[in-house]
C-alpha cells in the first residue's frame, strides 16, 4: 500500500503487483549477484574479486559463433534471397519469419538426434524462455490455480510463473535418496497438497535436463509423469532449454520422443519451451519458443506473443545460421564435448577438495553437496556456509534453499560462464578453503 503522507493530496497509488515481493528478487540467489556486482573478479584488474558461479551462461563456444558470422556476413545481415530489407524492417507479424521457424524446428530436431519431429507451424516465438514460461502459465491456468513444479527448481520460476499471472507453485518434493528423481508418490502428494489448499492444479512444469540438478530425466520417469498428467487431465510443460547441453546425445529423451512413441495420443496437453540462451550462448538475443501440440494453445500463444516479439533483424540473422547444417552439426557436437570436459574438470577439482556432487550429464552447472560440512542440517546452516563461501572464498554459488530444495546442504555451481583459467582459480580457492577448514578442525 502506498504510504499515507500527511498532506493535502495523498500520493498516487500503484497496483498490488507493482509493490508486491513476488518478483522474488530479495532471495539469496540475487543477493549473491549483488556481492558479485560490487566486487567482480577480473584476472588482471581484480584477481581477488568474487568469481561468478551463480549465472548459468554458456560462454564455451563463442569462437564457433564468431567464426560463422565472420565467414557468412552477407547472409547473416540480409538473409538468403526472398525477403528484402524493407519487409524485414516492418515485419512484426506474430507468426514470426517462416524461415526462422523452420530453422528452429530443424535445430531442435538435430539436438534430439532426429528422434523427434517438429512442425514449424507449431512454433510460437517469444523474447526469451522467461516470456514463454509466463505466457504458457497465462494460457493454461487462472489466477489462484497452481502449477506443480519438482524441487529443486530454477529460482526465476517464482517470478516468471507467479508474479503477473497470480498463479501458485506447489512443489513436488524430490530428494537425494533416489538422486532427486520425480516419483509418482511425490506427484500424488503434491497434487493432494494442492487439493487440501482448495487450489486447482492445471499443469506440471518440468525442466529437462534439470536446472539446477544438471541431469536428464529418465524415459520411464517421463512416461509416468505423462501418465499422471493424463490421469488428472492436466497439462505438462517441458522446459527443455538445456537440451543441447547434454554431454552425450544419446542420454537425452525429449517428451517429444515419448509422444512420438505413443503416436501422439493425448499430445494436446503437452507443451515444450525452448530457447537459444543456453545451448547457443545467446541470452542477449532474447530468443525463446513455445512448441505446443494443442491448436488452441498455439493460436492463443501466438496472439499473446505480441507482447514479446523477437526483433526481425535477429530472426533474419539466426535463420540463416541455424539452417546451415554444416554449422549446426559441428556446433552441437563441439559444444557438447567442451561442456563435458568442463564438467569433468570441475568434478575432479571438487573431488580433490573432498566435495561430492550429484552425478550429472547435462547443463552448465553441477549440483554440489556440502552437507558434510554443515554444523546443522538446516536452512540456516546452509546459508551460513553460503555466506562464508561468498565472503571468504569469494565465489558466488547458488544455495539450494533459493531453489526450494527440501534437503539443506546442496549448492548449484556454474562452470560454463568463465574461461578455463578462471575455473581453475575457483577450484583452487575451494581446495584451499577446505584444507584450511580441515586444519582448523584438527586444531580445535
Amino acid at each position: 500500500m502506498s504510504i499515507e503522507i500527511e498532506q493535502e493530496h495523498p500520493s498516487v497509488e500503484l497496483s498490488r503487483i507493482a509493490i508486491s515481493e513476488t518478483h522474488g528478487e530479495n532471495s539469496p540467489y540475487f543477493a549473491g549477484w549483488k556481492a558479485y556486482d560490487e566486487d567482480p573478479y577480473h584476472e588482471l584488474t581484480n584477481p581477488s574479486g568474487v568469481i561468478q558461479m551463480g549465472l548459468a551462461e554458456n560462454q564455451v563456444s563463442f569462437d564457433l559463433l564468431e567464426k560463422y558470422l565472420e565467414e557468412n556476413s552477407e547472409t547473416s545481415t540480409w538473409g538468403k534471397g526472398g525477403s528484402s530489407f524493407r519487409e524485414n524492417a516492418l515485419f512484426q507479424d506474430y507468426h514470426g519469419l517462416k524461415s526462422f521457424r523452420k530453422a528452429m524446428a530443424s535445430f531442435m530436431e538435430k539436438i534430439r538426434g532426429e528422434r523427434a519431429k517438429f512442425d514449424p507451424d507449431r512454433i510460437v516465438l517469444t523474447a526469451g524462455a522467461t516470456a514463454a514460461n509466463e505466457l504458457l502459465t497465462f494460457i493454461l491456468a487462472n489466477p489462484g490455480d497452481a502449477l506443480l513444479v519438482p524441487t529443486p527448481y530454477y529460482p526465476g520460476f517464482d517470478r516468471d510463473l507467479r508474479w503477473r499471472t497470480g498463479v501458485n507453485i506447489v512443489p513436488i518434493h524430490c530428494d537425494s535418496s533416489n538422486n532427486f528423481q520425480i516419483t509418482v508418490e511425490a506427484l500424488e502428494s503434491a497434487y493432494k497438497n494442492a487439493e487440501s489448499m482448495n487450489t486447482k492444479v492445471k499443469a506440471i512444469l518440468i525442466t529437462n535436463p534439470s536446472n539446477p540438478l544438471g541431469i536428464t530425466i529418465q524415459t520411464s520417469v517421463l512416461e509416468s509423469i505423462l501418465d499422471f498428467a493424463t490421469r488428472k487431465n492436466i497439462h505438462l510443460i517441458s522446459d527443455e532449454i538445456y537440451s543441447g547441453s547434454v554431454f552425450s546425445c544419446d542420454e537425452f529423451t525429449s517428451i517429444a520422443t515419448v509422444l512420438e512413441s505413443r503416436r501422439y495420443k493425448d499430445a494436446e496437453r503437452v507443451h515444450i519451451v525452448y530457447s537459444l540462451s543456453k545451448d547457443l550462448g545467446l541470452p542477449g538475443f532474447r530468443v525463446g519458443t513455445i512448441y505446443s501440440y494443442n491448436d488452441k494453445v498455439v493460436t492463443t500463444a501466438r496472439r499473446m506473443s505480441s507482447f514479446t516479439l523477437i526483433s526481425s533483424q535477429t530472426q533474419q540473422l539466426l535463420a540463416s545460421m541455424l539452417s546451415d547444417e554444416k554449422f549446426t552439426d559441428n556446433y552441437i557436437k563441439i559444444n557438447r564435448e567442451r561442456l563435458r570436459k568442463r564438467y569433468e574438470m570441475i568434478i575432479e577439482g571438487l573431488k580433490n577438495a573432498r566435495i561430492e556432487c550429484l552425478k550429472g550429464n547435462a547443463g552448465l552447472f553441477c549440483w554440489m553437496n556440502l552437507s558434510p560440512m554443515m554444523e546443522n542440517q538446516t536452512k540456516e546452516g546452509e546459508l551460513k556456509i553460503w555466506n562464508s563461501i561468498l565472503h571468504e572464498v569469494k565465489l558466488n554459488i547458488s544455495p539450494g534453499c533459493s531453489c526450494h530444495c527440501s534437503e539443506p546442504g546442496w549448492f548449484r555451481v556454474c562452470f560454463a560462464n568463465m574461461t578455463q583459467q578462471t575455473l581453475e582459480i575457483a577450484l583452487k580457492r575451494i581446495c584451499d578453503f577446505m584444507n584450511n577448514k580441515d586444519t582448523k578442525d584438527i586444531q580445535s
Binding site: 558470422l69 545481415t77 507482447f307
Partner: protein, 537 residues
C-alpha cells in the same frame, strides 16, 4: 466474428460463447450505441456461398433474434468455468497448415485463453486478416486488397536502407566503427535496455518533440515495442478489475494491451466531431462519476497524443486541464506519444513532459509511451520506451521488462543509427515532408470526392467522414460500407466502430503504406464506392 457460417441454415454458435462476449462488451462500453451486434456472416458473403439472401440475411436475422432472446436472459447468468465441450477452432489461415498431430483438446485452458482463442470480432483485426489473404502488389497482384488499415510508415524506408548498407558493409556484426563483437552482445544484458540506447533515445525524443524538453535516460525502461510498454504500465498502475478512462475514438490495440492480461477495463469518454474530437473535461468528469457510482475504481486516463485515429494534437491548455483533472482525482495519466515525430501541420507538438516542467504538478502520476515503429519506421525491430517520473513504477517496470526485452544486436544497431546525428536530422525532416506531401494530396483528392476529413496535424492517417454515404446512419450502415470498401473497392480501411467512435460513419485511412504515385489508384477505387453509394441512396 462467427466463424461457423459454413452452413447458412445453421449459423448459431454456442450460446455460452455469445453470452461471455456480450458480457464483456456491455462492461466495456457503458454507452455503446447498440446493445446487440448485428453480425453479418461476411465469410459466407465473400465466398459467395448461398448468395446474399441465404448467406447473409436469413442467418443474420436468426442471429439477431437469438441475441435478443439471450439479452433478456443475460442478467441472470453467471459465467463461471469455460464450456467443457470442445470449442471449435478458429479457422485462421494458419490452421490449415497445422500438422494433423494436433487435436481438439479435452484438457482445459484458462478463462483468458478461452476468450483469446475465439476469432477476433474487431474489424480492425479482421481487416488485417483479409488483406493477408489477398494482398495488393502492383505487379504480382494488382487486383488485391490495398492495405490502408495499418499505420506503418513505408515512405522513408529507402533512407533507412541506405544507412544500413553504408554502415554495416555486409556484416550485422559491424566493422570497426560499430563494436558488435559477439562477446559484447551475446551475454545477458540489463533487461530494461542498454544505457547507450537509452541515452540515444532520450536525445531522439528531444529532437523529435520539438527540441524544447529534455528527457532523462534514467527515467526510461526499454521494451520490445510500444505494445508491451502499454501492457507493463497497465500492470503497474492498476489492479485487475480496475479501469482506465479513454477518450474515443481510440487505437483498437488498447483493448488488447490493457484488458487482456492486466484485466483492466477501458471506460470510453466520447468525443464529438463538433469539437473535432478533442477531449472534453466535462465528459471526463461525467465518466469518472458514473464509474464511481457503479463501484468501479478508475486508476488512470490513457490518451494518445498525437491522437490515433484522428490525428489531432492536444494544445498545452488541454494538457493543463488534463493534468488538473488527474491531480484532482489522484489518478495516473498514460500518454502514448508514438506519433510525436509524424507531424505535418502548422501546429507544433507539445509533449506532456514539456507541460510538466512548467507546472507544479505531481510528476509521479505521468507516464509516457514512445517507440520507433512509427517515427523511425522500424516496427520489426521492436523498440519501445516507458518514460516515467515515478521511481516505484520504474523499479517494477524494470523487473517486468525481462518478459519483453529488446534483442541485444538490435539495440546496438539502433544506438548507432540514432547516434548518427546528421542522418537523423535528415530523416526527421524528410519524413515530415513526405508525410505532408502524401497527406495533403490524399486529403485533397478525398475532398474532391465529397469526403471531408477531421482537422489533423499529425499521424499517418486521416479521419474521414463518410457518414453521408452510409444508410442507415448507424453502426450497421457503417459496417456495410466497410464491407463494400473491402469487397468492391478492395481496400482495407478501419471503421470508427473498431475505434469505439460514438458517431457512425467515420473511417481511419492510413496513407503511409502506399506511395505518392499510388494515390490516384486508391482514390479511383474509393470513387467507385462513393458513386455506388450515392446512386443507391
Amino acid at each position: 466474428m462467427t466463424q461457423t457460417q459454413e452452413k447458412p441454415t445453421n449459423p448459431i454458435p454456442q450460446p455460452q460463447k455469445n453470452q461471455k462476449k456480450n458480457q464483456s462488451q456491455s462492461q466495456s462500453s457503458s454507452s455503446s450505441r447498440s446493445g446487440m451486434k448485428l453480425i453479418v456472416p461476411l465469410q459466407g458473403v465473400v465466398q459467395g456461398r448461398g448468395g446474399l439472401l441465404l448467406g447473409s440475411l436469413i442467418p443474420c436475422a436468426l442471429f439477431y433474434f437469438l441475441q435478443f432472446y439471450l439479452k433478456r436472459r443475460r442478467s441472470n447468468h453467471n459465467p463461471s468455468s469455460p464450456s467443457s465441450s470442445p470449442t471449435l477452432l478458429p479457422r485462421s489461415s494458419s490452421r490449415s497448415n497445422l500438422s494433423s498431430r494436433g487435436s481438439i483438446s479435452r484438457v482445459r485452458v484458462s478463462k483468458l485463453a478461452s476468450i483469446l482463442s475465439k476469432p477476433d470480432d474487431s474489424l480492425y483485426y479482421l481487416g488485417l486478416d483479409r488483406v493477408s489473404q489477398d494482398p495488393f502488389h502492383s505487379l504480382l497482384n494488382p487486383n488485391g486488397i490495398i492495405q490502408l488499415g495499418l499505420s506503418d510508415n513505408k515512405l522513408c524506408l529507402d533512407l533507412i536502407e541506405k544507412w544500413l548498407v553504408k554502415n554495416l558493409e555486409g556484416s550485422v556484426m559491424g566493422n570497426g566503427d560499430i563494436n558488435l563483437s559477439i562477446n559484447g552482445i551475446a551475454p545477458y544484458q540489463p533487461f530494461h535496455g542498454l544505457n547507450e540506447l537509452k541515452i540515444a533515445l532520450a536525445d531522439f525524443m528531444h529532437q523529435v518533440m520539438g527540441g524544447s524538453v529534455e528527457f532523462d535516460p534514467s527515467n526510461m525502461v526499454l521494451t520490445s515495442g510500444a505494445t508491451p510498454a502499454i501492457e507493463i504500465l497497465s500492470f503497474c498502475l492498476a489492479d485487475h478489475g480496475n479501469a482506465f478512462l479513454v477518450p474515443t475514438p481510440y487505437y483498437p490495440g488498447f483493448d488488447r494491451d490493457v484488458r487482456w492480461r492486466p484485466g483492466i477495463d477501458l471506460i470510453p469518454v466520447h468525443c464529438r466531431s463538433t469539437d473535432n474530437f478533442n477531449l472534453n473535461i466535462t465528459a471526463l468528469e461525467q465518466a469518472f462519476s458514473q464509474a464511481r457510482k457503479r463501484g468501479v475504481k478508475v486508476r488512470g486516463i490513457i490518451i494518445s497524443n498525437p491522437s490515433n485515429p484522428v490525428g489531432n494534437i492536444m494544445t498545452p491548455d488541454m494538457l493543463f486541464s488534463l493534468l488538473d483533472f488527474a491531480e484532482d482525482k489522484n489518478i495516473h495519466i498514460i500518454a502514448d506519444e508514438v506519433f510525436a515525430g509524424s507531424t505535418y501541420g502548422s501546429e507544433e507538438f507539445v509533449s506532456i513532459a514539456e507541460v510538466l516542467d512548467s507546472e507544479y504538478v505531481d510528476k509521479s502520476r505521468v507516464h509516457i509511451i514512445y517507440g520507433l515503429s512509427k517515427d523511425l519506421s522500424i516496427a520489426g525491430f521492436r523498440v519501445g520506451v516507458i518514460y516515467s517520473y515515478n521511481k516505484t513504477v520504474l523499479d517494477a517496470a524494470k523487473k517486468m521488462s525481462r518478459f519483453s526485452s529488446i534483442s541485444a544486436p538490435t539495440q546496438r544497431l539502433v544506438t548507432s543509427m540514432l547516434s548518427d546525428t546528421r542522418f537523423i536530422q535528415e530523416y526527421i525532416e524528410t519524413n515530415r515532408n513526405r508525410i505532408r506531401q502524401v497527406r495533403d494530396e490524399f486529403v485533397d483528392s478525398l475532398t474532391k470526392l465529397g469526403i471531408k476529413c477531421a482537422k489533423s496535424s499529425a499521424g499517418m492517417f486521416c479521419w474521414a467522414d463518410m457518414s453521408g454515404l452510409i444508410k442507415p446512419y448507424s453502426e450497421k450502415g457503417e459496417l456495410e460500407l466497410w464491407e463494400k470498401f473491402m469487397t468492391v473497392a478492395k481496400i482495407n480501411i478501419t471503421p470508427g466502430s473498431a475505434c469505439h467512435c460514438i458517431e457512425p460513419g467515420w473511417f481511419r485511412i492510413c496513407f503511409t503504406t502506399i506511395s505518392f504515385e499510388e494515390i490516384p489508384l486508391v482514390i479511383e477505387r474509393i470513387r467507385k464506392v462513393v458513386e455506388s453509394c450515392k446512386s443507391s441512396n
